[in-house]
Amino acid sequence: MIRFKSIISRIVFLHVIALVVTSIVMSFALSWLLGVATDNIHDQAMQDQAVSVARHLALKPDGSAALELPPELQGLYSQPYGRYSYAVLDERGRALVSSLADGSAIFPLDPQSRDVEFLRTQRGTAAISGASIRKTLGEKTFWVQAGEDLANRDVLIDDIVADFFKDVGWITLPILFLLLAIDIAIFARALRPLREASEIASHISPIRTDVRLPLDEIPSEVRPLVAAVNQALDRLDEGFRVQREFTADAAHELRTPLSILRTRVDTLDDRGIAYALKHDIESMSRILGQLLDIAELDAFVIDPNDRADLSEVCGHVAQWIAPLALKQDKEIVLSGGHKPVWVRGNPEMLSRAIRNLAENAIKHTPRGTVIEFAVEENGVVRVSDRGPGISEEERELIFRRFWRRDRTLPGSTGLGLSIVQRIAELHQATIRVENLPAGGARFSLYFVRLEAGGDSLPAAAE
């Protein structure tokens, strides 16, 4: 059993088989019908000939029959031509008149024959076909026979039959192929809504659960399936929403108790313990904050009118992170960013992404080294550190939620880079990670730059 990948290929295959069978059957049928039609024409012609011969048959006063053929009929039956022949028989079957050389009857007489009879006979090598009619004159009955030698049959009709395939029959094949092509086009068109629905369905992911397949143009045969898929998506979406809200609610609800804990720790007399506990609480707060960020990001849709100036965003992030870096004897450097670099996007979201990259860099760069921010005019932001770099195998892993290379590293949640990636996705930006020749890793975010002028004027974005 042949298995087909697509409905179209199945239809085409079955269609071609049907087409071949049809064209064969049709050819035979046509040629048979043509044969029948020519035979009928021939029989009719023979009967007409017999009738016209019989018209000239008359009774002589002595009671015998006499045939006076006019010249044009005589010519038709002249011996050299030999194609047509006639004979007149009496009621016992004896030939009274015959155009044949030996003067015999064309067809032997069958006493049971009806008024008009179509007959075939073989004379030597010639096949003769013709008609026999009854003619009554006075009290006497005669049989008038007309025959045609099939070897010398009417050339015109013969040619039509012989050349039927060559001249006419072939047209059926292209017509059938044209039909096939039209059918394929019709099927392809009929299936287009399904292809479009598949295209839409391919965008469904845990972060795009709002997608539904359009039902408007779906053929009614497939509609129940598509409707069922949409219903399944509704349930899935609801599931994701509940999960998202649970994450957000849980993180949110933990904040107030954590504040109480935090404030209580501030009042502890043992400063050593207080310091350690505060550190723990900070890690926990960061996880909560990032969980909330993720929950918010999962449901976030960027306003298409949002504009952000990468220079300003990077400047603010560098300003924000510099005191933290200084405390750890690390230096922050920002290069570029003197002129605004406008991209489509949400400034707060972009700032979160770059902040997470910066925090990641600070975590990994050793004391006394530099973390460099760079804003390029073509819409690229780079954050480089002097840490251990990121191996090829880890370059995919680092963007996974909760993935951490070093689980003992304090303050690391494994969420930061997944937030960066999600924000990049939302902005149709790409992330590239590479190791620098001098050591350290460099994260580059490639944003879609808004062209200067038009709707991207800074004034319009303010």
Binding site: L261, R262, T267, E296, P323, E331, L334
Partner: protein
């Protein structure tokens, strides 16, 4: 100095009151929107610490009413919401600052102090980093309680840095502060003034360091030993 704290979680409210009391503030604590409205009508507070999610309504409503009355009282929002829209809404409704729970108590104190030291607010005295003090009213710098006269431009730079101690001041902010909107600024003018300020401060024995954050700005901090 009396502060109004609107926080519906009793434990947190009590801890805040205790901490603020230790820092030298008196506090009135309430847990509902209605009580907050009443308190604000009865007493002229120095500042308000406002939680957003309250049992009988949204703290932002109280804030909007205040600003509608043109009441300039500094308001510090305290909230478990940290979402993008929440922050923007809070600041647009007229909050002066925004702290997301859980916060460090020192952070709360620092932000509160920053608000109270704003011109026209109550704590208008001096800012201090290590042994360097700067009087925001007389614009006088003091090292080891000994007053020093700095030139006008350097004083302006120091004023800005001290107001933003612990935070980075961008080069643009310094330029705007010194030169205002007037005229062209030589590209290295700010560097020159910062350089001179550093020299004058170290000459006078101030144990502070003005860090240059390349491409970003400047930050004043205690000198590391």
């Amino acid at each position: 100095m009396r502060l109004l704290v609107i926080e519906d979680n009793e434990q947190l409210a009590a801890l805040l009151a205790k901490g603020l009391h230790t820092a030298g503030y008196d506090t009135d604590i309430f847990g509902t929107v209605a009580e907050a409205r009443n308190a604000l009508l009865m007493v002229a507070y120095a500042a308000m610490i406002l939680d957003l999610g309250l049992p009988d309504g949204d703290g932002l409503a109280v804030l909007r009413e205040l600003r509608h009355r043109k009441d300039p009282i500094p308001v510090l929002l305290l909230t478990a919401r940290g979402g993008l829209d929440d922050r923007v809404n809070g600041l647009r409704s007229g909050a002066d600052d925004y702290l997301v729970k859980p916060f460090a108590f020192e952070e709360l104190l620092a932000r509160l102090e920053a608000q109270l030291r704003r011109p026209g607010q109550i704590l208008g005295n001096s800012l201090r980093v290590a042994n360097l003090e700067f009087d925001v009213r007389s614009r006088q710098a003091t090292v080891n309680d000994e007053p020093h006269v700095l030139s006008a431009r350097e004083t302006a730079v120091l004023e800005l840095l001290m107001h933003s101690k612990g935070r980075v001041v961008s080069k643009k902010q310094v330029e705007d502060h010194i030169f205002g909107l007037s005229g062209d600024v030589a590209s290295n003018a700010v560097e020159v003034y910062v350089h001179r300020l550093r020299k004058q401060l170290s000459d006078k024995g101030a144990r502070v360091q003005i860090h240059t954050i390349r491409g970003v700005g400047y930050l004043i901090a205690e000198e590391k030993v």
